[in-house]
């Protein structure tokens, strides 16, 4: 009866439920693949593939689509850059002890978060109706700077403004949460070695706040990429608008919307990869082990690992048994 524990065989717990769940998922996936790629349907008396992949394929790289994609990426980049800059500024203002400064930041966030983005975009598009020309000068005094909004407020400029200003309101709250997440002891320690408020913020608080700021900012960037389609309403020639232009003439609505969707998916995937590496970068010093990259996780799941490590792992397991 008293056999040496190290000689006994370890029987892992069986999980039949997981096998059933996996089988169900596999069947559903097979149905989806069949419907997407192999099924047909009858349209105007003709049997056709359900999803017309050959049409999607033929439009995927056309100049109009690529030009739209370019504008979409540009507008996303400009809006996020402007939004982040505004957000940092507004977050710092919100945390100011001066009630006028913090109050005005609060009002900004209240207004631009509280009105629909689409309305704001249309508003900026028609801003030249309210202000045909725009000048900055001394109150009641001479103008120092003057532009004609009728000519400068193109759809691209209006959309950039609209998105950046709206995004600033959301980023302000994200950055503020990040700043508040940093322990106050950090500020005190920085001050105790003589750092000024600004230096403390730049060198100590913001880098640590980044860990909290980046995941929702990645989220915002992805949202922005897709929300940029709203700019089609103000006739900006971005991805959706250009695709609409095409299907307005040839009526291949669904395939062309799928072209646009696939491009959005591709760019989103690239952004997610970027976000992962950015998060990894700012995880320095916060976790004992940095999260594994996709490749190292793949390698681990395929059991490509040093033999010795594997052996010691098994040995540890046996010791526990």
């Amino acid at each position: 009866m008293s056999r040496d524990a190290s000689e006994m065989k370890v029987v892992p717990v069986r999980h039949p439920g997981r096998w059933v769940a996996s089988a169900v998922v596999l069947v559903l996936v097979a149905m989806l693949v069949h419907s997407l790629f192999f099924s047909t349907t009858v349209r105007s008396g003709q049997r056709q593939p359900r999803f017309q992949w050959h049409i999607i394929d033929s439009y995927f790289f056309t100049a109009t689509v690529l030009r739209g994609l370019e504008v979409t990426i540009e507008i996303t980049a400009i809006a996020m850059a402007g939004g982040i800059a505004l957000g940092v500024l507004l977050a710092i203002m919100r945390l100011s002890p001066n009630p006028i400064v913090s109050g005005s930041a609060w009002v900004y966030v209240w207004f631009f978060r509280g009105t629909p983005l689409l309305v704001q975009l249309i508003f900026w598009y028609y801003a030249a109706y309210l202000f045909p020309s725009f000048s900055i000068g001394l109150p009641f005094g001479p103008a120092l700077f003057h532009i004609n909004l009728n000519t400068t407020l193109t759809p691209f400029v209006a959309a950039s403004f609209g998105f950046a200003i709206n995004e600033g309101a959301y980023m302000a709250e994200i950055v503020r949460a990040g700043i508040l997440s940093v322990d106050e002891g950090q500020t005190e320690a920085a001050q105790s070695i003589g750092m000024s408020r600004l230096m403390t913020l730049r060198l100590i608080v913001l880098p640590q706040a980044m860990r909290v700021i980046i995941p929702p900012t990645g989220n915002e960037t992805i949202s922005m990429l897709k929300n940029s389609a709203l700019a089609s309403v103000v006739t900006l020639g971005e991805l959706l608008f250009n695709v609409q232009e095409i299907y307005a003439t040839n009526y291949k609505t669904i395939p062309l919307l799928m072209v646009a969707s696939l491009w959005y998916l591709i760019v989103t995937s690239v952004l997610m990869v970027g976000q992962f590496y950015l998060e990894r970068h700012y995880a320095r010093g916060s976790a004992r082990q940095r999260p594994p990259t996709f490749w190292s996780r793949l390698a681990r799941n395929l059991r490509i690992r040093p033999k010795s490590q594997n052996a010691s792992f098994l040995a540890a397991g046996r010791a526990h048994a």
């Binding site: 070695i193 003589g194 408020r197 916060s286």
Partner: protein, 254 residues
């Protein structure tokens, strides 16, 4: 007669209606090691934080090395100093915190060098060499590239001491430096502090380590309820306390 490093006269401080310091009079001479002891809530940490203006005082005067902390005197008026001026004065006062407060996004070496490089604008190479020497002095020469979360509590606190020393302070403030440590790690930190005292650094130490106070302190100050109850040499205060409150406190802690 030695120079006076810290001089407090009638220092008062309240948080809302709660008066935490009810008139503290105290001097610390240059080169002296003063240990502040007392029950929690007695105001000893608050007083320490007032010395480098992490808290501003509501009454009385407080000077470090002859300069008012946080204020400039103009006739019979006190003008609050600008952020920049406060920073310049703080830079010459080192502080070590109970919870270390190391910058987690920088290595041990980064923590030590960031002050001299960014605040004092000293050349990188020179600062680096000094930082390596400081790490050796606190017994962590091999931990230069470790991030704080890879260090034990005792090691973190020693890096924090090195970070404060890198600014070449004329005064060091310790706020319960060993209270957050495992008992077995306390010794290493006290050892480093003992060395600093031996080198003649002026130190104000808030502590519960009576052994350290007895051995290293030139003077022990017992505070309770926002006032100094008694102060004197370690033997006077710790072995032969005059006040009843001191006796009760010592009886409870020993």
């Amino acid at each position: 007669m030695p120079d006076v490093m810290v001089e407090a006269a009638g220092v008062r401080k309240h948080f809302g209606l709660n008066e935490v310091l009810k008139g503290i009079d105290m001097t610390v001479d240059a080169g002296e090691v003063v240990c502040l002891i007392g029950p929690s809530g007695s105001g000893k940490s608050t007083f320490l934080r007032c010395i480098n203006h992490l808290e501003h005082i509501d009454g009385g005067t407080l000077t470090v090395d002859g300069e008012l902390v946080g204020y400039r005197r103009h006739g019979d008026r006190l003008h609050e100093l600008r952020d920049k001026e406060v920073c310049a004065r703080r830079a010459s006062i080192g502080m070590v915190f109970q919870h270390f407060n190391l910058f987690p996004n920088m290595t041990a070496l980064g923590n030590i060098t960031v002050g001299p490089i960014r605040v004092k604008g000293e050349p990188r190479e020179q600062v680096r060499d000094q930082a390596v020497a400081l790490l050796r002095r606190v017994g962590l020469a091999d931990k230069a590239d470790a991030y704080p979360n890879q260090l034990s509590g005792g090691q973190k606190q020693r890096v924090a001491i090195a970070r404060a020393l890198a600014m070449q302070p004329k005064l060091m403030l310790f706020d319960e430096p060993t209270s957050a440590l495992d008992p077995e790690l306390v010794g290493d930190v006290l050892e480093v502090m003992r060395g600093l005292a031996g080198d003649g650094l002026t130190m104000v130490v808030v502590t519960h380590e009576l052994g350290f106070a007895r051995e290293v302190g030139d003077r022990v100050v017992f505070m309770d309820d926002g006032v100094i109850v008694e102060s004197g040499s370690p033997t006077e205060v710790l072995a032969h306390p005059r006040e009843e409150r001191t006796k009760t406190f010592l009886a409870r802690i020993l």
